[in-house]
Symmetry: C2
């Protein structure tokens, strides 16, 4: 009997009625399958717990934070198991620790070390639906840990890998992965299939459907992931290994990200070790740098620009001012009114001229490109924030993503 | 360094401000002591979780119920640890399982099998305050279990026994054990000390300060318990082993209990085995019988009366009707308008005439006694409910419990 893992997010289990509706949805899959269900905390529960903690301490102890937050999922698994039992199914709930999800000791951002899942397997063998708390695990010292953002998706993918599931279904409040954000591009199409690498680029470039960590894990262990809507019966998007047909399409999707800010160090004396000095310092402050561009040297001086999360820009600017003075830069400036637009597609590997087509499309709309970065399957441009939607629409048109039946 | 265990109930930790106030109270005890703190779920949390469960299933699965309810205390321990850390103390929280509280597998009413408390000891040795979730434990199969009503007190007493604590302080919303309910008898006095056996009688007779289970455990392992107020600094009542001076006082306190109802089986043919047949049947339905009185046989017939919790009276009556017909009883009647008043004191062991003095005091007030039962250190009478307060005041006077300095 084939095994499927299903994951339901917080908005899918926000109240008793929604938990009952999820139970009915699981019931539809149960005949003929072994089913493992992974759930998040109900609705805004985690936010509520975080707020309680912050009333007690500005920076709560990470170990105690994990002790606190892990209760959210534990409530959901018990209630969902009860709801499944009320429908006449055998069901057993398991905390992360009980499911054998072992992590390192990095509280609030633990990494999965291994999954034994013995008790989950035993429950399935006994004909029960196993309901597992997402987002949490336990260290070898039996400390409760949590996996950080997107942790419940990761639990689902990791359990699917450990149990060699046929499929990992991620039920969410969007119904799949689109060629662009449908709020920005009305003619955006739902993609029936995307490759892991495309999904990775899209995840890290701002498409919020699935966190990059989960996609990396799925890719590493070859887990087929189906991202679909909790509230609609339609098929969503299958995230899977690259297939030959995918290469026929040059660009699969357009993403945009407005959560970044740009910082520039102007007229820095161009000596070896400058970049290391700058980004070493930024790294020690736990500021995550995304794009980095260093211009060609002129008269022995260069400009260094990079992007950071907007929330970190004040901290980063203060830090860069100091570093800038130390390395003899003329000044440090920052700009929060920027957006990053990107084109993504595994087909780029075998097609040339893709970047040029992107730049030309932006130029035609009079949009100035401030920074450029490229990877094997993506090209990203930082532009002025107010042009973000216009740029996404222009690129969606330029790469003809609105056409029906481009990739089925 | 002496070790004390402190337990704070749900109303003491009902919100963030109260948790901070409990943290300050703990901080006052911490210098010079190892401190282990046991806490309940915040305020009405448990009721809220029970209500969610009942929306999903009329009789939720006990295993899933324990999974659900255990989250309540887990939230409190994390928040209290954070609050203690914010005051500059080292603190570590532990779930029941982490504290090594091992139980049998009787979900929702588990019994403690043993306590290892290794991690609690390690935390104390490392100079930390250990904060332990009350009410919960784990079976040898690593299933989460709960101890049932009064479970947090039991956790505290059991930890105090396992860790050989000097003292177990139970902080609650009353400030000690009184000679009678102060709401009924304004001149009731707080008792500085009571013996385990007295406390046991008082607990089972309706004084709600401390559950009988916890007192039994404290008696068995010789744990000295101090029942005191969370909100006042005054000393409360010490529950401890019997001391010689206690015997000088005949009656220590008056209790009353209005939670029972009386059921009578009238004109039952008096043959051997009747009582076994009746109470065997009642027992299989999990109805807890308190007092039982069987009158002297007349013409080969007898009457059997007993009390049950009011919530069970309808169920018990239906059952008794059946049994009554089977054993040839004339009819079954029940009465919910009854109260039980009791006098309690270890001094009764060495004094005679105590019961007579009680009956005479009630008679003087024109109160009819419907049922009587006695134990070595208590006498209880069932009377009409409307006389309950009058009876308690009359007995408090008759045994001169309002006098100052009776037992210090």
């Amino acid at each position: 009997m084939a095994l499927i893992v299903q994951k339901y997010g917080g908005s899918s289990v926000a109240d008793v009625a929604k938990i009952q509706s999820v139970a009915r949805r699981i019931a539809d899959s149960a005949p003929g399958h072994h089913v493992v269900v992974v759930v998040s905390a109900m609705g805004k529960t985690t936010d509520g717990l975080v707020s309680l903690a912050h009333q007690l301490a500005p920076v709560p102890d990470p170990r105690e934070m994990d002790m606190l937050l892990a209760t959210g999922e534990q409530v959901t698994i018990a209630l969902l198991a009860m709801a499944l039992q009320a429908l006449g199914f055998k069901a057993r709930s398991f905390t992360g620790a009980q499911a054998g999800l072992r992590t390192d000791r990095a509280h609030t951002k633990a990494r999965i070390a291994r999954i034994t899942a013995e008790r989950v397997r035993a429950a399935l063998d006994a004909g029960a639906i196993a309901v597992v708390a997402g987002f949490q695990g336990a260290s070898d010292e039996d400390e409760i840990t949590t996996l950080g953002r997107g942790g419940s998706d990761l639990t689902a993918v990791a359990l699917a890998a450990a149990l060699k599931a046929e499929l990992c279904e991620i039920y969410t409040d969007v119904d799949g992965v689109y060629t662009a954000d449908p709020n920005v591009v009305p003619e955006a199409r739902k993609l029936p299939r995307v490759a892991y690498d495309e999904m990775l680029e899209m995840a890290s470039l701002g498409a919020k459907v699935l966190q990059a960590r989960s996609v990396e894990f799925a890719k590493k262990y070859g887990v087929t992931v189906h991202v679909r809507s909790t509230f609609k019966p339609d098929a969503g998007t299958i995230v899977t290994r690259e297939e030959r047909a995918m290469e026929d399409v040059v660009v699969t999707g357009i993403t945009h990200d407005r959560s970044q800010a740009k910082i520039s160090l102007l007229r820095v004396p161009d000596r070896p070790g400058i970049a290391a000095q700058v980004f070493g310092a930024v790294g020690t402050k736990n500021i995550v740098v995304d794009m980095i561009v260093q211009n060609i040297s002129r008269d022995g001086y260069t400009d260094i620009s990079f992007t950071v999360p907007r929330g970190d820009v004040a901290r980063a600017h203060t830090l860069l001012d100091e570093i800038g003075r130390a390395v003899g830069a003329e000044k440090t400036v920052h700009d929060e009114r920027v957006a990053k637009v990107s084109i993504v597609g595994v087909g780029m590997r075998s097609h040339s001229g893709v970047a040029a087509r992107m730049f030309s499309a932006l130029s035609k709309e009079g949009i100035n490109i401030q920074m450029i970065s490229t990877s094997e399957i993506a090209v990203s441009c930082v532009i002025e924030d107010k042009y973000a939607e216009l740029a996404v629409r222009a690129l969606h048109d330029a790469f003809e993503l609105g056409r029906e039946g481009v990739r089925e």
